[in-house]
Amino acid sequence: MATGRVIVVTSGKGGVGKTTTTANLGMALATMGEKVALIDADIGLRNLDLILGLENRIVYDIVDVVEKRCKLRQALIKDKRMPNLVLLPAAQTRDKSAVTPEQMKELIADLQSDGFGFILIDCPAGIEQGFRNATAGATEAVIVTNPEVSAVRDADRIVGLLEAAELRNPSLIVNRLRPHLVKNETMMSVEDVQEILNIKLLGIVPDDEAIINSSNRGEPVSLHEAAKSGQAYRNIARRLRGEDVPFLQFDEGGLMGRLRRFLTGVR
């Protein structure tokens, strides 16, 4: 029987970085030699292809597959950098009702039998049919949230819904953390978020201008050695594979930060 792991990346709230996270984790896992399939379940508002820089290669999409206009293999877009990473794009001209949870399960089973070790599903925002489709075939869930009350509230709602859908033990990625705002107590800390959600922390990704640039250029930031956020995503990918990787420490960079740390004695 197929053993590929099926992980849905979800959040409830929109704009917290689900798609960016899916793209970067997929890319990072692929660079580590995993055979990875990414599914864009955000039918009608597809973005994952853009973040991966694969938009111009789309000929068939997930709706074409479930409506049997093409074979699954034909719709899978091989990444231009990583041959072991494929994308199943969403349809842009349809809506969430074009796919049913049963069809998603079938599709995922087909991907598993094709030997994909990781199948990541980019879930749309919301808790309606798109969410139900995206979670239908998943066996694990990663919840992405930002350190702000509204995102955490929605993430909490999602944890509850996932439990109801028998998707237990989701793990958490706190995205867009701004360490200096946490330090002066204007932003929720990772500990604050965890205290509310009380689920396993998978990773912390700092707010990083490099992500804006890389998203616009279709080059996932996890490909960039230097970017702190890219390092964070690579670490999360390693943890997904079962490695024990310590969490990144976000110190203020630059001369002033180091000077302040030196003067105040804070590490």
Partner: protein, 284 residues
């Protein structure tokens, strides 16, 4: 990927002149007849049709003994059913003689209408028209059976009556699908389809899709996907003032935008067409 050609050599431009001479009717009011288009093969040369129209107009004014119309890609000669046959014949020859060389190679149908009894010389008329004017009679319409019998002997198609709808119509040219004209921005997720040509007065954004059986013209920036000749017509073209598509498709061929950004904007409108097995982009 797209093959962009800065400027087509003159000879190439001439070679592809037919593609450029697109017959697109007035944008605001798509007309039913859009001139010669893919698949539509007028049986009569357009020039002849125009000339016939003039002659027809003159004939209708001149006499009621005789009326000429275009029909079935040829002529329809209505011969008055009540007037003496000799008068009708005289009027016919008179009319045809006026532009004697004009008729060569054309076909015609004679309409005798309600005329009773078989007029003398009817059997000879087709041969005479052929000989004098090069005008070939292909059918004769007559309401009375004995007239039709006489024609049957002469080896021509005999019709009891002309279909009323057809009689009224102009030369029958199968009309291509009406071009579809859309004004405004076509946005992501929107799909516009047309059986024939598709004309957009506005931008087509990334994520939008255009599909047409014929050509696609975008009077604006094309950023989305456009599929011309969707039913397999490789002669179809895609034209845009600014051609920045995610993907272009013509018939069964697909081309995608180059990775790493589009080349600088062309100062001129650009046209995508099939050359060999590839989609090429040419400056216009």
């Amino acid at each position: 990927m797209f093959k962009r050609q800065r400027k087509a050599p003159r000879s190439v431009t001439v070679e592809h002149a037919p593609d450029e001479a697109l017959s697109v009717p007035a944008l605001s009011e798509p007309a039913v007849e859009s001139g010669p288009a893919v698949g539509a093969e007028p049986a009569v040369e357009p020039v002849v049709v125009a000339a016939v129209a003039e002659v027809v107009a003159a004939a209708e004014q001149a006499t009621s003994l005789l009326r000429l119309k275009g029909w079935r890609g040829g002529l329809l000669l209505h011969l008055d059913a009540d007037a003496p046959w000799d008068d009708v014949l005289a009027a016919l020859y008179d009319k045809l003689d006026a532009v004697r060389d004009f008729w060569a190679g054309a076909t015609c149908t004679l309409d005798l209408g309600m005329r009773a009894g078989c007029p003398d010389g009817l059997g000879l008329l087709p041969a005479q028209l052929e000989e004098r004017y090069g005008l070939t009679v292909v059918a004769v319409a007559a309401a009375h059976p004995e007239v039709r019998e006489a024609i049957g002997v002469a080896g021509l198609e005999a019709l009891a009556e002309l279909e009323p709808a057809v009689v009224r119509s102009e030369p029958e040219v199968p009309s291509p699908p009406v071009p579809k004209y859309v004004k405004g921005t076509v946005r992501s997720g929107q799909v516009l389809e047309a059986d024939g040509h598709l004309i957009i007065m506005g931008d087509v954004n990334a994520g939008a899709e255009l599909r047409a059986g014929g050509d696609i013209m975008v009077f604006g920036t094309l950023r989305g996907m456009a599929h011309a000749g969707a039913a397999g017509e490789r002669g179809a073209v895609i034209v845009a003032l600014n051609l920045r598509p995610t993907q272009l498709r013509i018939a069964d061929l697909i081309a995608r935008a180059p990775d790493g950004g589009q080349p600088p904007l062309s100062k001129h409108p650009e046209r995508a067409e099939v050359r060999g097995q590839e989609i090429h982009i040419l400056s216009m």
